[in-house]
Symmetry: C2
Subunit: 147 residues, 2 copies
C-alpha cells in the first residue's frame, strides 16, 4: 500500500497548508477548450460582456487545481487520497494571474461500522488566491485506513 | 447575453439527456499527470495493487467530462451554464473504455429574493457509462435569468 498517514496518525483540528500554483490565461483557456467551452472561460475580450466581466477559470478547473495541491500537500494518506464525494462552492472565480494555495482542516474522523480496517476523514479544503480571496470551499469525505 | 433558456422556459421535472464521451487510457493518464498524480490514475499495471484494482479516472476528471456534457447538452441556459456550487458523489470510478452520458433533471426553480432578474435552478446530474453504471451523482445550483 502507498505509504502515509493512517486513521490513528490524524487528529480533528489538524491543518495542512500547501501552495502554490500560478494560473495563466493559457491554462484557463486550455482547460475550458476540453471541459467547459463557454465564452467567459475562452476569450478574454468577449468575456467582458458576460456575468464574469472578464476571463474566469471554470469552477472545475479550480477544483482540479485544488486536487493537485491536496495530492502534493503534507496530508499524504496511506493508500492515496481517495474521495467518496463532497460539496463545494465557488464564492468568486479564479482569474488568470491568481496564485492558488489551500488550507485543509480535519473536521471529523469516523471509524467505519462495517469495515474495521477503514475510516472516513471529513475535511474542509479552502482554496485562496494570493490576496487571500476564497475561490473554493469544499467539504469532502476521504478514505483513511486504520493501523 | 448568450442566447438560451430563461427561468420561465424551464419546468421542474424536465429532463435533458446528452452523450457520449469515450474515455481512453491516454485521457485518464493525461488528466492525472496535471491534476491528480496518484498511481491508480497514472499506471495501469501498478494500479492493480491499489484500492481501485486497476486504472481509474480521477473523480475530478469525471466531473470535468460531466461539465463538458452539460455544456453541449440541450439545457442551453441564457447567459451560459454558471454554477454557484454543488455536491457530488462517485459511486464507482470511471475506467478507460467507458463511454459517458448524462441525465440532467430539474429538481427546483427558485426566484431570487434580492435580485428580481435572477433565479436558481437546482438540478441532479447523473453520469453513467455505457452499461448504465452510475459514476457520478451531482446536485448543483445554476444561475438562471428571468425574462
Amino acid at each position: 500500500m502507498i505509504d502515509g498517514r493512517r486513521f490513528e496518525d490524524i487528529a480533528v483540528g489538524q491543518v495542512f497548508e500547501h501552495g502554490e500554483i500560478a494560473v495563466t490565461e493559457e491554462n484557463v483557456v486550455a482547460f475550458a477548450r476540453q471541459f467547459d467551452p463557454q465564452v467567459f472561460h475562452l476569450d478574454a475580450e468577449a468575456a467582458k460582456d458576460t456575468f464574469f466581466a472578464g476571463l474566469a477559470a471554470s469552477g472545475w478547473h479550480t477544483a482540479a487545481l485544488t486536487m493537485r495541491l491536496i495530492v502534493d500537500s503534507g496530508l499524504r494518506l496511506a493508500g492515496g487520497i481517495i474521495g467518496a464525494g463532497g460539496s463545494l462552492t465557488w464564492p468568486r472565480p479564479t482569474r488568470p494571474g491568481d496564485v492558488l494555495s489551500i488550507r485543509i482542516e480535519v473536521l471529523e474522523l469516523r471509524p467505519s461500522r462495517s469495515k474495521p480496517e477503514r475510516g472516513t476523514l471529513k475535511a474542509r479544503v479552502t482554496t485562496r488566491n494570493q490576496h487571500g480571496d476564497e475561490l473554493q470551499i469544499m467539504t469532502c469525505d476521504l478514505l483513511v485506513w486504520r493501523r
